[in-house]
Amino acid sequence: MALRRLRADLHIHTCLSPCGELTMSPRAIIEMARASGLDLIAVTDHNTTENAGAVIQAAAGTGLAVLPGIELTTAEEVHILGLFDAATDLRPFQADVFRNLPDVPSKMKFVDDQVIVDADDYVTGFSPRCLFGATLFSVQATVDLIHGHGGLAIACHIDRESFSIISQLGFIPPGLDLEAVEVSPRLAPDAARAAFGPFDPLPIVRFSDAHKPEEIGSATTDFLVAGPGLAEIRLALAGEAGRKVILA
């Protein structure tokens, strides 16, 4: 099978994330992703997958591939990215997450509206939950939960001083079977390799963690794969079957 190099930004928030701008609607995200030359994106709101379907639907026929995802906050306040196959029914997963997300009213001044939308950018609801809060899942339970639903687990922005597995836990717990570690756009690829090369064989990826349209594609990772599906991304992260991750 012919392999091609796909440019991916697999950490993008929508208007549903409490810190995501209202302008992060499905159509705006897709337009910006395409303008940035991306082939593949993932929708990763805090503790929720509720807007992922709308973005996937809105991207149909545009040539842009979209994976559903989530940025889970663990009990230790570590952010873990979960990426899933677009065909996965994520409702049981989401129900499990919400059962383990303490119910705190999110009417805090610094939290923007948490807007649920459809594929045409129409508002269909508002999430009443404290989406930015920590779930009751430990890091290990979070990784297990993501794997249990066929997903890939990636430790987020490990170079940052907050919500990173390294800031919170000092180091990556031995035996935690992550698929990759992510660095933020603040860290250039060379600096990322120099800083986190010791975590080899865990591959390093670099994504935007975009909360505003203009941030989409501000950090990307290329995947040499046969197609944009999750199975191919999994192979690339594992360095199997000729697939690979190209951090450039």
Partner: protein, 113 residues
């Protein structure tokens, strides 16, 4: 001052039965960021935290801390307890929050750097 003294005077719960609490407590440090404790904890410190992940034991070993006190009634995760027993790191607990516990520790002469 030893952990035995602190446990008695502050009515701390001892999670790691059988691990000696007789190491001298030379000071204290309070933080929930393990990276910060790796950076700033000192040998002989009693560490006040609400993190219960097994990594806290590794950090205590790395920095040669006197012991760990979990606040807010937090219980160590089962793996944390196992690891503490293996590494002989005393794990204690209190229902108090970090602020109150640190205040009382300070009153007993346990100081930061």
């Amino acid at each position: 001052m030893t952990l035995t003294d602190l446990a008695a005077r502050l009515e701390l719960k001892v999670f790691t039965a059988g691990i000696p609490l007789d190491k001298p407590v030379l000071g204290g440090y309070a933080s929930d960021l393990l990276s910060d404790v790796i950076g700033h904890g000192r040998k002989g410190d009693v560490w006040v935290t609400m993190q219960v992940h097994p990594n806290i034991v590794a950090v205590a070993v790395l920095k040669d801390l006197a012991g760990i006190v979990l606040v807010n009634g937090r219980e160590p995760a089962p793996e944390t307890l196992e690891q503490a027993a293996r590494e002989k790191v005393p794990l204690l607990g209190t229902r108090s929050g970090a602020f109150d516990l640190v205040g009382r520790l300070y009153g007993l002469g346990v100081k930061g750097s």
